[in-house]
Symmetry: C2
Subunit: 218 residues, 2 copies
Amino acid sequence: MFTLSEENYLKAIYHLELDSDKGISTNAIAEQLETKASSVTDMIKKLSEKKVVVYKKYKGVHLTGLGKKTAANIVRKHRLWEVFLVEKLNFSWDEVHDVAEQLEHIKSPKLINQLDVLLGFPTHDPHGDPIPDKEGNLKTIEKSLLSTLAKNETGICVGVDDSSSEFLQFLDKKGITLGKKITVLEKEDFDDSLSIKVGEEKLSISKKIANNLYIKKI
Amino acid sequence: MFTLSEENYLKAIYHLELDSDKGISTNAIAEQLETKASSVTDMIKKLSEKKVVVYKKYKGVHLTGLGKKTAANIVRKHRLWEVFLVEKLNFSWDEVHDVAEQLEHIKSPKLINQLDVLLGFPTHDPHGDPIPDKEGNLKTIEKSLLSTLAKNETGICVGVDDSSSEFLQFLDKKGITLGKKITVLEKEDFDDSLSIKVGEEKLSISKKIANNLYIKKI
DNA sequence: ATATTTTTTTAGGCAAGTCTAAAAAATAAG
DNA sequence: CTTATTTTTTAGACTTGCCTAAAAAAATAT
Ligand SMILES: [Mn+2]
Ligand SMILES: [Mn+2]
Ligand SMILES: [Mn+2]
Ligand SMILES: [Mn+2]
């Protein structure tokens, strides 16, 4: 149905549309896929003919219903595979992304359904991101960036905004994992750093870290 | 390292070399891959430059040590994935091949090592074919085509020569699966059909079937 | 030994996906 | 409201992998 390259474009547009309701620009897609704007224009025309995006010259693109469903299914596969790698094959959360980028393109509805069964119908991947259901629907939970919590507020770590292995390994080193209870002890004005309690440990983290950690307030 | 297409050529040559020690002909490869001889010639030149095959014009090809190791690793992945699909995802033996054809190209040494662990280091795939070890070595067992058994000889079904889903579903229907005990009751001269006992069931099978079932004599 | 048939290679072309450089349109600045 | 800058599209080219048709080599038959 769709080539590997087409699937990657659909996924990129899907992710970009989660953060914006305007038309997704050629440059934004090019940046996401680390390719050139001219290549994006070429591909957009093909996707438009295949009725998965709506495209008007110079106006950016939007996914159609079909496009959104197709993209969500790829994201579903990506995240289910990530769960599999962590739960069944002892990968750590910083090792799964690149392999999942390959596995998400495997075409077999039975495979993904059975994987879902084997994993016990998980709702979130190892980075706290929701797994779309078969229809492509996402249930989004209320979560806040750690940086938005006030002094003395407490929450559970439920996700990361940056899934790079560098960041994830840094979190491991600090003892911060999904499910950990985090309390803001102090907010420093001059550099926006935070003193926090993670479980029983106290530590200080920079603004950048606090801007990439999602917390569910309790 | 190698493209999907290159990997498929290497695998085809690898399988053909198991049955022949002469140079593998352009036409044989073309037939195996359902492509044209001219395409094969093109690809062989590329593989030759990459030092995975030895090629002399009009003389056919041989895999080099590197080529053989690379191909065996793809076969290893294919067969481990087939075991996974059957053992963990409830696929039947006639459903796994096409999915494994895709999965065998996923690049991640850790993935395949951990899959091996999860599956308990299987030595054979669901069709009775041996799984190459990490170095690419195959341990071949002594097996015979059912058609070569004499009257009153008995053995265990250990493999199939034809893995098409049509044949495998036919075997399912007849109650013939790997591990079943099979005894030759009668050999008919005029059409080479056999009367056999499978477990406790008696049935008659054609020459064609007997030529595609592997038996380990006991 | 020569002619015929089969196999293999070459030549030229096509589609997908990418790139660079240049042109066109849209946006921002003065 | 013009001019300058940024964004996007077009034009043309390249690589990979495939094809058809024709030429060349090898194998087979007479
Ligand atoms: Mn990921
Ligand atoms: Mn993830
Ligand atoms: Mn197979
Ligand atoms: Mn098999």
